[in-house]
């Protein structure tokens, strides 16, 4: 795990954090809902660790006392009044843009067999 890294780092050698991580392609692909080919697995298996080593450089930055912020604008909650309004998309255009429809309804596969 990441938190052990400072210890391991002092044991000498090049700082390659990805070596100490479990970058399990099958598990990540499952999370990402992707089915990877063997060739993609080979490529990503090579590239992801080097990208991870690169982004791990952030550990060098002292962020003690600094809040993590997802957005930097001053905006907090942005509300609008709760009144019905017409969507910009016309109904027919919205239905047409959907991959499958049955008459006026949007069609999706069943969740249960």
């Amino acid at each position: 795990m990441w938190t052990d890294l400072t210890l391991r780092r002092t044991q000498g050698g090049e700082f390659l954090p990805s070596k100490y991580m479990d970058i399990n392609l099958d598990h990540i692909a499952k999370l990402a809902k992707l089915r990877l080919t063997d060739s993609e697995k080979e490529t990503l298996g090579r590239q992801l660790p080097s990208i991870v080593d690169y982004i791990a450089k952030l550990q060098e930055v002292d962020t003690s006392g600094i809040d993590p912020k997802a957005y930097l604008t001053d905006a907090t909650n942005v509300f609008r009044s709760d009144v019905p309004s017409t969507a910009q998309a016309e109904r027919d255009a919205a239905v047409a843009a959907f991959p499958k429809s049955a008459g006026d309804a949007l069609e999706v596969p069943g969740i249960f067999n």
Binding site: I28, A32, E40, L44, V61, D67, A93, G110
Partner: protein
């Protein structure tokens, strides 16, 4: 710039009646039809629609109506922007059959202002890339040297302006995707302050970073487009009500008394010495014309790129979860889970898969705090560092990119080398600042870009300084030989 048709020149000529919108648009379409086979800027040209819209403008003129601000000006939009009734594929196979059911706010505002949308332009798939090579459909070539990339991800929009097909175009900039190609193609590219321009109807890459902005030949032209697209939109809660909008006609270009910060971290070992020389010459133009040049240090700026490659894939992997063949594009056969997997695995290209995998890893249990949460803290620290710097200076000047346009294929198999092309542009996205790239000369016959960054929502200071540079130099009037 007689050869260069600017937004302003076209707008004024159409308003005065010395040329019709139809003539202008026909000329633009003829150039594209004749020359775009070599450049590959456009994925689709809206011939019929564009001519109809142009004739509407001409009819208004005949009736004696007051023409809107951009009447008759041909513009191009990036393929991740919706135009009702037209396709928008974000450069991806998964959306190749998607037709927009409504228009993006920026696109609707352009059309309301009388601009003629002549087509949608090539881009890196879902804007993931720095060379436009990850497009599922075609390569785009740099008009200055067609063996080289135009930069990316908005490479098609950028090449369309650089080649003279259109006077202006819209791009989107998440980590440099407007400014970086603008630098590589020798034109103006503007990334507005986060919140200045609505993102409604834009296919999202990373929602906390994305901003739409213009490509043009002059700062004034970029402003003319910004006047139309910027401002609060009720459909994008992060868009901001602006107290005032800079008006191109009222701009007074000036460098006098301007405090220009030059951060040493943006002049790195390994950058092209010719690029460095052009930027240093540009800084001398500022000094010679009354600006005060102040050496500053932004020690966190080098961390902007690794921060970006955490936040952006994390947000992208979440945003792209919606592309599963259920709501958009092509439905894959099979039971639900199988259908998802097939649609995504066959619909996305390798760069998109790489970033979705990276984002999913970063956000997974055990790594979320170490990567994602840490990146948000560095992001805030980076912004604070800029806030401090802007107490001392009005604008920050640097190269836009460390080098010039590279050969097609050169960095394609080395993601980190490709990502480094954006090392100087990502800080503005991470910190939410406005940034502009303007042409400042050539290195080995290839264009070099000068980047100006300013305080959030202080576009005006940036425009004044950049426009002043363009009144003193003529780099922006140089066009590639056809």
């Amino acid at each position: 710039m007689s050869e260069l048709l600017t937004v302003k020149a076209i707008r004024d000529a159409v308003a005065e009646g010395t040329v019709t919108a139809e003539e202008i648009v026909k000329n633009s379409l003829a150039r594209i039809d004749a020359e775009d086979a070599e450049i590959g800027a456009f994925l689709e040209v809206f011939h019929t629609r564009a001519l109809e819209k142009a004739r509407e403008i001409d009819a208004m003129k005949v009736r004696g109506d007051v023409l809107p601000r951009l009447a008759g000006v041909p513009v191009a939009i990036k393929d991740n922007m919706l135009l009702m009734g037209e396709k928008a594929s974000a450069g991806s196979k998964i959306l190749q059959d998607y037709t927009s059911a409504y228009s993006a706010t920026v696109v609707a505002r352009l059309e309301e202002a009388g601009a003629i949308i002549v087509g949608r332009t090539n881009m890196d798939e879902f804007a993931m890339g720095s060379s436009t090579e990850t497009s599922a459909f075609q390569k785009t070539r740099n008009p200055w040297d067609t063996s080289r990339v135009p930069g990316g991800s908005s490479g098609g929009s950028c090449a369309a302006v650089a080649a003279g097909f259109v006077a202006a175009a819209l791009g989107s900039d998440t980590g440099g995707s407007i400014r970086q190609p603008a630098a590589l193609c020798g034109i103006v590219g503007l990334k507005p302050t986060y919140g200045r321009v609505s993102r409604y109807g834009i296919v999202a890459l990373a929602s906390s970073l994305d901003q739409v902005g213009p490509f043009a030949h002059t700062v004034e032209d970029a402003m003319l487009v910004m006047e139309v697209i910027e401002g609060r939109d009720e459909h994008d809660a992060t868009s901001v009500e602006l107290d005032s909008k800079p008006v191109a006609e009222l701009l007074e270009p000036s460098m006098k008394g301007l405090r220009v910060g030059v951060p040493k971290e943006y002049f790195i070992d390994g950058m092209d010495p010719e690029v460095r020389a052009r930027v240093e010459e540009a800084i001398e133009v500022f000094r010679a014309n009354g600006a005060e040049i102040i050496d500053i240090s932004l020690p966190l700026s080098p961390y902007a790129l690794p921060t970006y490659y955490i936040i952006q894939p994390a947000e992208a992997s979440s945003n792209l979860a919606r592309f599963d063949g259920m709501r958009y594009g092509t439905r894959a056969p099979g039971a639900l889970e199988d259908s998802y997997l097939t649609a995504r695995s066959e619909g996305f290209g390798l760069e998109v898969k790489r970033r979705i995998m990276l984002g999913s890893f970063i956000l997974s249990a055990g790594y979320y705090d170490a990567f994602y949460k840490k990146s948000l803290a560095v992001r805030n620290a980076l912004r604070k560092e800029f806030d401090e710097a802007f107490k001392q200076v009005d604008v920050i000047i640097s190269p836009t990119t460390p080098g010039t346009a590279w050969k097609l294929g050169e960095k394609f198999d080395d993601p980190i080398a490709m990502y480094l092309a954006d090392v100087f542009t990502t800080p503005a996205n991470i910190a939410g600042l406005p940034g502009i790239s303007i042409p400042c000369g050539f290195a080995n016959d290839l264009p070099v870009g000068l980047q100006l960054q300013a305080k959030p929502f202080d576009e005006m200071t940036m425009y004044k300084a950049a426009a002043a540079y363009q009144t003193l130099t003529d780099w922006h009037t140089k066009v590639p030989q056809a």
